[in-house]
Symmetry: C2
Subunit: 381 residues, 2 copies
């Protein structure tokens, strides 16, 4: 099968290279920006791809919503299978694009959009056919895991590890989407859509790691915990819960073994039990390898990753909860139902009683509007 590529950045180049060696696959035209077509196989007009009968599948690695959405839809309409690594696109337009793919009898797969090289959505989708998924989650952002791992192992401060992450190419010049938890949130939205046929679009909570300090990390270590940025989702009534927050995990958890910029994805299925998958969540070749596995899956006959019945829902995070570690000014500590409080130099470090995710995130937001510096992390029981 000849495979065209939309976009020729880091991942696009990796896909092109892997296509040259893959079984039953070969590289086709690559769409680049006007003026950048410096080789025979590079084209600048999408119609050179959608109109080419020899092209069987299109890989989209442009990122962003437009023009990716328009071109993916045109490719599907033209009867081409589409494999995309674009989480923003699938989170926003997944159900509609999947409907076009279904109508045209072609595939729309997006493993690389969640977990990079970790074979998460592929296995999740396969399991849904015969098993009930009870929960999904994990460490879905490699940039912040690199930063947290470095802070934990070297005792370094936030600003220092962010700079390191940028120099290593793990973090972008504007790291907001990573460090705020938004990137991980988009990924857990996709996992919920695949696992529960519900794409949560509102009522979601994401707390990042921007306010974490080396002092906090020292406290976690003293408590025997490791801090990871964890995403979680699960069914609740007619909807799902889905959130991202810093999480303190005990030394025995698989999450602690996730070093550097690796990802960990997990799901619990009624029959299969707990399944944990660890691998590289980003980078040229790991992400390209997820794209290539999807393409091999297309050749084997696989078509559907976004379930036909998938609907958009407002998430409900008012039913799931756990204790939290909260660091905040002493004056505000009374706002929380405390189990333990330690105060030092006007700073309170609180272990709360069990709070719902909604309660904790809403309380932190309210305190911040009053000028309080707050960091919080869920505690894994």
């Amino acid at each position: 099968m000849k495979v065209a590529i939309l976009g020729f950045g880091t991942v696009g180049q990796g896909v092109y290279e892997m296509l040259q060696k893959a079984r039953d696959l070969e590289p086709g035209p690559v769409l680049v920006r006007p003026g950048k077509a410096d080789a025979d196989y590079k084209v600048t007009d999408i119609s050179a791809i959608t109109g080419a009968p020899s092209v069987g599948a299109v890989v989209e690695v442009l990122g962003g919503i437009e023009p990716a959405r328009t071109w993916v839809e045109q490719a599907l309409q033209a009867g081409k299978h589409v494999v995309t690594a674009n989480k923003a696109l699938v989170a926003q337009c997944g159900p509609e694009l999947a409907a076009v793919a279904r109508e045209k009898g072609v595939a729309l797969l997006f493993s690389a959009a969640c977990g990079g090289g970790v074979p998460f959505l592929h296995n999740l989708a396969l399991s849904t056919r015969s098993d009930d998924i009870l929960s999904v989650g994990g460490i879905l952002n490699g940039t912040t895991n690199y930063m947290l791992d470095a802070m934990q192992s070297r005792g370094a401060d936030y600003a220092e590890v962010l700079k390191d992450a940028q120099q290593l190419g793990y973090a972008e010049a504007d790291p907001t989407a990573d460090v705020s938890g938004l990137d991980a949130l988009r990924k857990i939205m996709l996992a919920c859509a695949v696992a529960f046929e519900k794409l949560p679009c509102e009522g979601l909570y994401n707390e990042g790691i921007e306010s974490l300090t080396a002092d906090d990390v020292r406290h976690f270590r003293g408590m025997g915990y490791t801090c990871r940025l964890v995403a979680k989702g699960g069914p609740v009534g007619d909807t799902v819960f889905a959130f991202v927050e810093p999480t303190l995990v005990p030394a025995s958890a698989a999450e602690c073994a996730v070093k550097d910029n690796y990802n960990l994805a997990r799901y619990e299925a009624k029959c299969a039990g707990d399944i944990v998958l660890i691998g590289q969540g980003a980078g040229r070749y790991p992400t390209a390898s997820a794209v290539l596995r999807d393409l091999s899956d297309v050749i084997a006959g696989q078509r559907v990753m976004m379930p036909q019945a998938c609907v958009r829902v407002t998430a409900d995070c008012s039913g799931c909860g756990h204790p939290y570690y909260v660091r905040l000014p002493e004056a505000f500590a009374g706002k929380l139902p405390c189990d333990k409080v330690a105060v030092d130099n006007g700073i309170a470090r609180v272990i709360t009683k069990a709070l719902t995710v909604k309660e904790m995130h809403d309380t932190a937001a309210a305190l911040r509007t009053r000028g309080a510096q707050v960091f919080f992390a869920g505690i894994e029981e």
Copy 2:
């Protein structure tokens, strides 16, 4: 697709139950022993399955070589897809059965034969289509992992944890295949066949945990290590290496997070990097879930797990090596190239210089023929 089942033990019953709820699948006739057909759907003659046009696929969960081999071949010849959980069968007859499946254009998948509910062979096979696999391995036997985990966490002795494992149904009355490493060895043989197109049949080494004592475990803990029974395989020249041995892993390794009777499978691919998969390696529903995933994969169009080019080879374990922990009578300690030796009460505990797997296993075998009590474990670097 209607699915017949050969064998109605623990796993067969789980498969039957899951088939009743799975998408696009339904249970068909179940083959039981003569005199055991106490319900309409139970049959005692294989021809009631191979001759039934409505049966699209056959699940084989009998175990052992015969009559499983004959019946699987008859099912394939009759144009039925086959999914099996039988590692002994695939390790012994896999290439020939795969040839029959290929000739008839039907599937032969065997995910459940290696790693139980862990989606190992499925992902490995998918990765081989576009990536080069560099190594395979992991904790592939849940019984011994339960025992090692209990010895490590409770300080219990071997006999005690074996009894516990038997009472919990994790270990059979005759636990030899598990505790000797033979079960894990068969699984790594299958992984080598899928990953490297080479099924190693001779030149293999397996060391089990029968000679492990609570004293050894105390020493590992003092050294900061956890003991796991680890299988490894990889390409070497025109063949592969493949072995099973107790292995001391550092606290940071994902293997340490594998508790109770769980399994961990890992592979390294050139582009995807390290992929680690953790889940339940045995039990009714986890194993049945692997069978059901294979059946869903058959419906999607997947046919091949054992590569067409797969050949039988003699393994070569003379090129891979590492240091070992060896406990043996003081009088024999001079037989090993030692880095460190501690002697207590006539018992020497040695950390060796790097030895090849062949050297260490052969040396231990030679010492045992001279009556020496020896335990050894590879040390993960």
